[in-house]
Protein backbone atom coordinates (compact mmCIF):
# COMPACT_ATOMS: atom_id res chain seq x y z
CA UNK A 1 0.00 0.00 0.00
CA UNK A 2 1.02 3.54 -0.40
CA UNK A 3 -0.97 4.69 2.58
CA UNK A 4 -1.74 8.20 1.60
CA UNK A 5 -4.36 8.60 4.30
CA UNK A 6 -3.48 9.16 7.90
CA UNK A 7 -5.27 6.11 9.14
CA UNK A 8 -3.40 3.44 7.22
CA UNK A 9 0.18 4.51 6.99
CA UNK A 10 2.81 2.12 5.68
CA UNK A 11 4.12 -0.22 8.29
CA UNK A 12 7.67 1.10 7.71
CA UNK A 13 6.57 4.40 9.13
CA UNK A 14 5.53 2.87 12.38
CA UNK A 15 7.76 3.52 15.34
CA UNK A 16 5.62 1.69 17.78
CA UNK A 17 5.84 -1.95 16.82
CA UNK A 18 7.14 -3.26 20.10
CA UNK A 19 4.87 -3.83 23.02
CA UNK A 20 4.78 -0.71 25.12
CA UNK A 21 4.71 -2.62 28.34
CA UNK A 22 8.16 -3.11 29.78
CA UNK A 23 7.29 -6.58 31.00
CA UNK A 24 10.32 -8.81 30.87
CA UNK A 25 8.32 -11.99 30.49
CA UNK A 26 9.85 -14.11 27.72
CA UNK A 27 6.41 -14.67 26.26
CA UNK A 28 6.30 -11.08 25.05
CA UNK A 29 9.62 -11.46 23.27
CA UNK A 30 8.19 -14.47 21.47
CA UNK A 31 4.94 -12.67 20.65
CA UNK A 32 6.94 -9.69 19.37
CA UNK A 33 8.90 -11.99 17.08
CA UNK A 34 5.72 -13.57 15.80
CA UNK A 35 4.09 -10.17 15.28
CA UNK A 36 7.15 -9.00 13.35
CA UNK A 37 6.76 -11.94 11.01
CA UNK A 38 3.06 -11.24 10.52
CA UNK A 39 3.78 -7.59 9.69
CA UNK A 40 5.83 -8.73 6.74
CA UNK A 41 2.92 -10.66 5.23
CA UNK A 42 1.54 -9.42 1.94
CA UNK A 43 -1.60 -10.22 0.02
CA UNK A 44 -1.12 -13.27 -2.23
CA UNK A 45 -0.37 -12.09 -5.75
CA UNK A 46 -3.43 -13.77 -7.29
CA UNK A 47 -5.85 -11.91 -5.02
CA UNK A 48 -6.00 -8.66 -6.98
CA UNK A 49 -7.15 -10.39 -10.15
CA UNK A 50 -9.45 -12.69 -8.21
CA UNK A 51 -11.20 -9.70 -6.66
CA UNK A 52 -11.40 -7.80 -9.96
CA UNK A 53 -12.93 -10.86 -11.66
CA UNK A 54 -15.55 -11.14 -8.91
CA UNK A 55 -16.71 -7.52 -9.07
CA UNK A 56 -20.15 -6.75 -10.48
CA UNK A 57 -20.34 -4.65 -13.65
CA UNK A 58 -20.88 -1.35 -11.87
CA UNK A 59 -21.40 0.06 -8.36
CA UNK A 60 -24.98 0.36 -7.16
CA UNK A 61 -26.55 3.80 -7.42
CA UNK A 62 -26.03 5.68 -4.16
CA UNK A 63 -29.03 5.67 -1.85
CA UNK A 64 -30.10 8.74 0.11
CA UNK A 65 -28.81 8.66 3.71
CA UNK A 66 -32.27 8.11 5.22
CA UNK A 67 -32.82 5.07 3.01
CA UNK A 68 -29.51 3.60 4.14
CA UNK A 69 -30.51 4.09 7.78
CA UNK A 70 -33.92 2.46 7.19
CA UNK A 71 -32.31 -0.49 5.40
CA UNK A 72 -30.07 -1.33 8.36
Amino acid sequence: MTGDGEGMKPMDDKKNHKLEDTSTSPIWDKINDEAEMLRSRTTPVYMKQRIMDALPEAPEPAKPWYKRVLDK
Binding site: G5, N16, L19, S25, M37, R41, P44, K48, I51, E60
Partner: protein
Protein backbone atom coordinates in the same frame (compact mmCIF):
# COMPACT_ATOMS: atom_id res chain seq x y z
CA UNK B 1 -8.79 25.35 -25.04
CA UNK B 2 -5.07 24.67 -24.57
CA UNK B 3 -3.70 21.83 -22.51
CA UNK B 4 -2.85 23.95 -19.48
CA UNK B 5 -6.35 25.36 -19.40
CA UNK B 6 -7.85 21.89 -19.71
CA UNK B 7 -5.76 20.64 -16.79
CA UNK B 8 -6.71 23.64 -14.67
CA UNK B 9 -10.39 22.84 -15.22
CA UNK B 10 -10.06 19.26 -14.01
CA UNK B 11 -11.28 18.74 -10.48
CA UNK B 12 -8.43 18.81 -7.96
CA UNK B 13 -8.61 16.41 -5.06
CA UNK B 14 -6.47 16.56 -1.92
CA UNK B 15 -7.12 12.89 -1.31
CA UNK B 16 -6.08 10.82 -4.35
CA UNK B 17 -8.63 8.17 -3.38
CA UNK B 18 -11.40 10.64 -4.14
CA UNK B 19 -10.18 11.01 -7.72
CA UNK B 20 -10.02 7.24 -8.15
CA UNK B 21 -13.51 6.80 -6.72
CA UNK B 22 -14.81 9.44 -9.11
CA UNK B 23 -13.28 7.54 -12.04
CA UNK B 24 -14.87 4.26 -10.92
CA UNK B 25 -18.26 5.90 -10.48
CA UNK B 26 -17.86 7.39 -13.95
CA UNK B 27 -17.65 3.88 -15.37
CA UNK B 28 -13.95 3.05 -15.19
CA UNK B 29 -14.20 -0.24 -13.32
CA UNK B 30 -10.50 -0.94 -13.86
CA UNK B 31 -9.59 2.07 -11.71
CA UNK B 32 -10.84 0.12 -8.71
CA UNK B 33 -7.70 -2.02 -9.03
CA UNK B 34 -5.73 1.01 -7.81
CA UNK B 35 -7.65 0.97 -4.53
CA UNK B 36 -7.13 -2.77 -4.18
CA UNK B 37 -3.40 -2.36 -4.78
CA UNK B 38 -3.18 0.51 -2.31
CA UNK B 39 -5.01 -1.06 0.61
CA UNK B 40 -5.08 -4.83 0.24
CA UNK B 41 -1.92 -5.54 2.26
CA UNK B 42 -2.91 -3.84 5.55
CA UNK B 43 -6.46 -5.14 5.20
CA UNK B 44 -5.21 -8.67 4.54
CA UNK B 45 -2.90 -8.51 7.56
CA UNK B 46 -5.79 -7.36 9.72
CA UNK B 47 -8.00 -10.21 8.53
CA UNK B 48 -5.15 -12.70 9.00
CA UNK B 49 -4.42 -11.45 12.50
CA UNK B 50 -8.10 -11.59 13.41
CA UNK B 51 -8.93 -14.98 11.95
CA UNK B 52 -5.62 -16.82 12.02
CA UNK B 53 -6.44 -18.41 8.69
CA UNK B 54 -5.01 -17.30 5.31
CA UNK B 55 -7.97 -18.86 3.48
CA UNK B 56 -10.52 -17.03 5.60
CA UNK B 57 -8.53 -13.80 5.36
CA UNK B 58 -8.56 -14.04 1.56
CA UNK B 59 -12.32 -14.65 1.50
CA UNK B 60 -12.98 -11.72 3.84
CA UNK B 61 -10.73 -9.47 1.76
CA UNK B 62 -12.52 -10.42 -1.46
CA UNK B 63 -16.02 -10.03 -0.04
CA UNK B 64 -15.10 -6.72 1.56
CA UNK B 65 -13.75 -5.23 -1.65
CA UNK B 66 -16.83 -6.42 -3.53
CA UNK B 67 -19.03 -4.75 -0.92
CA UNK B 68 -16.90 -1.61 -1.10
CA UNK B 69 -17.25 -1.55 -4.90
CA UNK B 70 -21.01 -2.03 -4.77
CA UNK B 71 -21.47 0.79 -2.27
CA UNK B 72 -18.73 3.07 -3.52
CA UNK B 73 -21.20 5.85 -4.15
CA UNK B 74 -21.95 5.98 -0.44
CA UNK B 75 -18.39 6.77 0.69
CA UNK B 76 -18.28 9.86 2.83
CA UNK B 77 -14.94 10.83 4.31
CA UNK B 78 -11.86 8.71 3.94
CA UNK B 79 -12.05 5.59 1.79
CA UNK B 80 -9.32 3.81 3.76
CA UNK B 81 -11.16 4.15 7.06
CA UNK B 82 -14.46 3.19 5.43
CA UNK B 83 -13.12 0.02 3.80
CA UNK B 84 -11.21 -0.86 6.97
CA UNK B 85 -14.48 -0.88 8.90
CA UNK B 86 -16.03 -3.20 6.31
CA UNK B 87 -13.15 -5.66 6.81
CA UNK B 88 -13.11 -5.24 10.60
CA UNK B 89 -16.85 -5.92 10.85
CA UNK B 90 -16.53 -8.97 8.61
CA UNK B 91 -13.76 -10.32 10.84
CA UNK B 92 -15.78 -9.79 14.00
CA UNK B 93 -18.84 -11.39 12.42
CA UNK B 94 -16.72 -14.39 11.47
CA UNK B 95 -15.33 -14.69 14.98
CA UNK B 96 -18.80 -14.50 16.47
CA UNK B 97 -20.22 -17.13 14.16
CA UNK B 98 -17.45 -19.63 13.86
CA UNK B 99 -17.01 -22.60 16.08
CA UNK B 100 -13.38 -23.13 15.40
CA UNK B 101 -11.82 -26.54 15.53
CA UNK B 102 -8.29 -25.91 14.38
CA UNK B 103 -7.31 -23.09 12.11
CA UNK B 104 -3.86 -21.65 12.10
CA UNK B 105 -1.16 -20.21 9.89
CA UNK B 106 -0.01 -23.77 9.16
CA UNK B 107 -1.15 -23.56 5.56
CA UNK B 108 1.26 -20.70 5.16
CA UNK B 109 2.69 -20.71 1.66
CA UNK B 110 5.05 -17.81 2.14
CA UNK B 111 8.77 -18.42 2.59
CA UNK B 112 10.14 -18.50 6.09
CA UNK B 113 13.39 -16.94 7.19
CA UNK B 114 13.90 -19.75 9.66
CA UNK B 115 16.33 -22.40 8.68
CA UNK B 116 16.23 -25.40 10.95
CA UNK B 117 13.36 -27.85 11.47
CA UNK B 118 13.57 -27.24 15.23
CA UNK B 119 13.09 -23.51 14.76
CA UNK B 120 10.16 -24.14 12.45
CA UNK B 121 8.61 -26.52 14.96
CA UNK B 122 9.03 -24.09 17.86
CA UNK B 123 7.50 -21.28 15.85
CA UNK B 124 4.64 -23.44 14.65
CA UNK B 125 3.88 -24.41 18.23
CA UNK B 126 3.96 -20.78 19.36
CA UNK B 127 1.64 -19.80 16.50
CA UNK B 128 -0.80 -22.49 17.50
CA UNK B 129 -0.68 -21.51 21.16
CA UNK B 130 -0.95 -17.80 20.41
CA UNK B 131 -3.80 -18.34 17.99
CA UNK B 132 -5.57 -20.52 20.52
CA UNK B 133 -5.13 -17.87 23.21
CA UNK B 134 -6.32 -15.08 20.89
CA UNK B 135 -9.37 -17.18 20.02
CA UNK B 136 -10.49 -17.07 23.63
CA UNK B 137 -10.60 -13.26 23.66
CA UNK B 138 -13.73 -11.28 22.92
CA UNK B 139 -13.60 -10.04 19.30
CA UNK B 140 -13.22 -6.42 20.39
CA UNK B 141 -10.21 -7.30 22.60
CA UNK B 142 -8.60 -9.40 19.89
CA UNK B 143 -9.17 -6.60 17.40
CA UNK B 144 -7.51 -4.03 19.65
CA UNK B 145 -4.56 -6.33 20.41
CA UNK B 146 -4.01 -7.25 16.76
CA UNK B 147 -4.18 -3.63 15.59
CA UNK B 148 -1.80 -2.43 18.29
CA UNK B 149 0.74 -5.20 18.54
CA UNK B 150 0.54 -7.10 15.28
CA UNK B 151 -0.20 -4.26 12.86
CA UNK B 152 1.77 -1.70 14.87
CA UNK B 153 -0.81 1.08 14.73
CA UNK B 154 -0.92 4.05 17.09
CA UNK B 155 -3.86 4.43 19.48
CA UNK B 156 -4.84 7.64 17.71
CA UNK B 157 -4.99 5.87 14.36
CA UNK B 158 -6.96 3.00 15.87
CA UNK B 159 -9.43 5.46 17.38
CA UNK B 160 -10.08 6.97 13.94
CA UNK B 161 -10.50 3.60 12.24
CA UNK B 162 -12.72 2.09 14.92
CA UNK B 163 -14.58 5.30 15.74
CA UNK B 164 -13.93 5.06 19.46
CA UNK B 165 -11.73 6.73 22.06
CA UNK B 166 -8.03 6.26 22.81
CA UNK B 167 -8.88 5.52 26.44
CA UNK B 168 -11.29 2.74 25.52
CA UNK B 169 -8.72 1.19 23.21
CA UNK B 170 -5.95 1.32 25.82
CA UNK B 171 -8.26 -0.50 28.20
CA UNK B 172 -9.04 -3.19 25.59
CA UNK B 173 -5.37 -3.72 24.80
CA UNK B 174 -4.52 -3.90 28.51
CA UNK B 175 -7.24 -6.49 29.13
CA UNK B 176 -6.13 -8.52 26.10
CA UNK B 177 -2.52 -8.50 27.30
CA UNK B 178 -3.51 -9.61 30.77
CA UNK B 179 -5.58 -12.46 29.36
CA UNK B 180 -2.82 -13.60 27.00
CA UNK B 181 -0.22 -13.37 29.73
CA UNK B 182 -2.24 -15.57 32.05
CA UNK B 183 -3.00 -18.08 29.27
CA UNK B 184 0.55 -18.40 27.97
CA UNK B 185 2.96 -17.64 30.80
CA UNK B 186 2.71 -21.11 32.29
CA UNK B 187 4.19 -22.60 29.16
CA UNK B 188 6.57 -19.89 27.97
CA UNK B 189 7.63 -17.97 31.09
Amino acid sequence: MDQAEAVSQQPQYEDPDVAIIARVLDGSKDAFALLIARYSDPLYRHALGMTGSPDVAEDILQQSFIKAFQHLGEVRGRFDAWVFRIVANACKDWLKNIRRSHLSYDDDDQPSSLTTPDEEMDRSELRGDLDGALATLAPSLREAFVMKHVEGRSYEEMAVLLETTVGALKMRVHRAREALQSLLEGKYA
